[in-house]
Symmetry: C2
Subunit: 528 residues, 2 copies
């Protein structure tokens, strides 16, 4: 069996016929760079009508920089290629190994400026395994970012085609589109044809870390028959993806043979694709998962590229009924074992979490994950707080996501309105990203993140002062905010009008309130 590489990235003949992505700054903003010892850290600068500005964390890469000269066929500039590259420590050329050795890498320095924190916090959190910086050396185009509970909560957007729908061009645009609206990482979950080529286009053009689930491609290589999988084929697939520059990989090594019977009485069995594949393999071969038995070898590969493990929750609950059950927590215990092994190889680790969990069972997930997995960053899919709203699962899951992030989850995997129903299109990707930016930001506020409330305060001040344009431009989605406003009051003067369509011109609580404030200040001064 060979590793089937569909085509060379540079081969004209197999490149997408036409490819175009969204360019230009978000309304009201410009790209701004912080210079730091030769590093250029991007920010989004929102320009306000009162002459002030607010600088925001920016995930969108050069696509929102009007001055950037981009060529999708060539990929983004490989900026990190010129950065300092310390020697490996005990065979590991990883941020974890360097952090433990007291080395401050350029990636750590970049991240510290980006987060607005001391670089020693970055180094020490990475060294402790409480944070990861997913940065495969073969993905020099990426702008480093950090995932850990001491930092801003991050979000991931899944993209990728399937056997049924979508093209490479669409997926590249989804990547650009997702990062434009705030995705901190993207996962390419393609399962159809052209997996390799699709991924090549995405990685070369992605300013954010790219994650994959290598078992999906491995399965394609054996014609979709899980029982035909082998360790060797899987390993070769991992190396193929490692060479391409994949920054983190979901590995469902915690699905042990002994766990499978624990799922037998579930309402929704095993809903993770990777989990189902590995369970199927274990049962067919009546032996332990090759991902588990070969885990140390996998660590050696990951250590060479600095690929971060995202230890998959193959037995995550797929329904409220199955939340926090024996199967889920048995696997989590195994993920704890694997975390220790990975760290002993100097490999960075994060832990994937559910899924579908009612609100009162959410905090236990974080508590157990931290206890069993030595506080490795938790990376959860939602969770959905109820099963009853297909077509609105970006909302059911934003509720769970906000709560689990407040409790300590470091990165949230978005859910789009199409979850359970179909593959997300471009609009769905945006809706999912915005819903998750809301959840992440709500958690940042609740955790007292030092910068978070600045944006709320700036927007609310603009709202109170009837600076409509500023209110739009400070929001997560200026285009839609403006569009909704203009549906009822389209005339341009309304942008500065001291009223809106809810109450009309002669009856506005905000205006009355401004009058009240003026008078109340007098009252305060008058009071004894």
């Amino acid at each position: 069996m060979s590793t089937s590489v569909d085509a060379d990235f540079s081969a004209e003949s197999t490149a997408p016929a036409s490819i175009g992505v969204t360019r230009g700054p978000i309304e009201g903003s410009t790209k701004h760079y912080l210079e730091h010892h030769g590093l250029r850290i991007p920010q989004r600068r929102v320009h306000l009508t009162n002459g002030e500005h607010l600088d925001l964390y920016d995930t969108s890469g050069p696509y929102t920089d009007e001055n950037a000269d981009l060529d999708l066929h060539a990929g983004l500039p490989p900026t990190r290629q010129t950065w300092r590259r310390p020697d490996p420590v005990d065979g590991a050329a990883t941020q974890l190994a360097w952090a433990r050795a007291g080395v401050i890498t350029d990636e750590m320095a970049f991240v510290a400026v980006r987060e607005g924190c001391d670089v020693e916090l970055v180094r020490s959190e990475v060294a402790a395994g409480r944070a990861v910086i997913p940065a495969n050396r073969c993905h020099p185009e990426s702008e480093p970012m950090i995932i850990g509970k001491a930092f801003g909560v991050k979000i991931n957007a899944n993209i990728g085609n399937s056997a049924v729908t979508s093209s490479i061009a669409e997926e590249v645009e989804k990547m650009v589109w997702a990062t434009r609206w705030g995705a901190d990482t993207i996962m390419d979950l393609s399962t159809g044809k052209d997996i390799h080529l699709t991924r090549e286009w995405i990685v070369r053009n992605s300013p954010v870390p790219v994650g994959t689930v290598p078992i999906y491609q491995a399965l394609e290589k054996v014609g979709g028959d899980p029982t035909a999988l082998t360790w060797e084929l899987y390993r070769d697939t991992v190396i193929e993806q490692a060479e391409q520059g994949v920054d983190y990989m979901t590995v469902h090594a915690g699905v042990l043979r002994a766990h499978i019977p624990l799922t037998a009485r579930r309402v929704t069995g095993i809903v993770s694709r990777g989990g189902a594949i590995m369970a199927s393999w274990c049962m067919a071969h009546r032996t332990e998962s090759f991902l588990y038995t070969h885990f140390a070898e996998l660590c050696e590969i990951f250590a060479r590229y600095d690929i971060t493990f995202s230890l998959g929750d193959g037995l995550r609950p797929g329904s409220i009924a199955d939340a926090n059950d024996a199967a889920q927590f048995a696997e989590l215990r195994t993920l704890g074992e694997l975390t220790a092994i990975a760290k002993s190889h100097g490999v960075q680790v994060m832990i994937e979490g559910p899924g579908h969990v009612p609100m009162h069972k959410i905090v236990e997930n974080v508590r157990l994950e931290e206890e069993l997995c030595d506080e490795a960053p938790f990376y959860t899919l939602g969770p959905l707080a109820t099963d009853i709203a297909p077509a609105y699962d970006h909302i059911t899951s934003a509720i769970g996501a906000a709560m689990i992030a407040q409790a300590g989850t470091a990165m949230l995997c978005y859910v789009t309105p199409k979850e359970h129903l179909g593959l997300p299109n471009r609009d769905d990707v945006k809706t999912g990203v915005i819903a998750y930016k809301i959840a992440a930001h709500a958690a940042d506020l609740a955790k007292g993140h030092p910068r978070a409330q600045q944006r709320d305060d700036a927007l609310s001040k603009a709202r109170f002062e009837f600076r409509w344009t500023d209110q739009f431009n400070l929001s997560l989605d200026p285009d839609t905010a403006r569009e909704f406003h203009d549906e009822t009051l389209p005339a341009e003067p309304a942008k500065t009008a001291h009223f809106c369509s809810m109450c009309g011109p002669k009856f506005c609580s905000m205006r009355i309130s401004a009058d009240v404030r003026a008078a109340a200040v007098d009252l305060t001064l008058e009071a004894p």
Copy 2:
């Protein structure tokens, strides 16, 4: 000054030229009635393809009953006119007075069947003031419902026109539309012309309790000048609305003169319209709010009709920065005083709550409300967990709403995507209602409501068994779930296909999982 009644409801000449509302059952369901001692309690029966069915709480009234003979000009049948009407107790003809006297009213009996609980629980919770049954005797068309933390979490949908937009016909359709998707009550917040007539159309045709904010209409009567308001004009407006059948009224009687200076340094001042109006009045007249000084008289009126107080939070925070501040909690303390006065008159009371609150400050709101207001049902607007997402505030607030309901809030006032930007249209109303059904249901699950998980389990079982049609029909919005699915797999056979567009036909985790389950059961049986 006279109470301006725009037109008689029955006058042909002033009726909307054309009026039509959405009729017919929700996809996959039929109307079903439980018969109980002469009462007919509506349910929505979802018919499954496996021959089973699930009965759901139904707020939609006769509009979803194929056999109902409806005439919008005549209004719904005044069913409650024929129900037993016990004698007043100490002048109060209210559910509270009767509950305290040990009387089980038809309304209580109806509610108990509807909630699936013992009628004694209903009576005792109402008697304790921990629950309310808003049911003005002049609104005999309504189907009684209960608001209290011992029961299912309820949601309210705000509708109403303004000086800028909307017609009566649109508002009646919004009411029908909102209740179709699950609104338990509606509030008519009209502020423009034709306030009286709009409300008449809504009340006569509403199967759910109708709430209002009488100060809005009072302000219209004085040409929009808050300082021209008088107690007498306000009182007459309340009586006018009481006679029409308004079931609960928001009264901002807790905005005291002494509280106003506490808002002076806020980021967003006073954002409640009612609060701003009363603050403006107090300052202009340099005297205490007439709502506060005449509160006992108001109680006497409310007691005659059994109108429920919704004590307004006129000083609720309008931004994250202002959450849980001195102004907000000073008013809450006053609302506690007023609660005691209202209850001493036998009048039912609920307490309105914020607004904009970061997640870590949510629970304190419930704790204080229960402590200060003797556990009167809490009725909150969201709260929005962040300020930064105008156009998505149904999501920012669904997060806060789910959490505050889990903590004990009895009813959630929805927020639509148009919040802060414009008046909601029909689509926005639906989006807001669905987002809030999600929040309410998530809270019911978290609180362990005995019936809540039935629906999740039924839907998840359908999902696992590839009963696509059942999955759609059991969802909060079958139409949209089906539409999303059909975007990628439109062919009818796909509705029973054992795969979907996410993975494609040859690679489905659910199918693999079914195989695993079959085998795993064997493993379990084989295991020692």
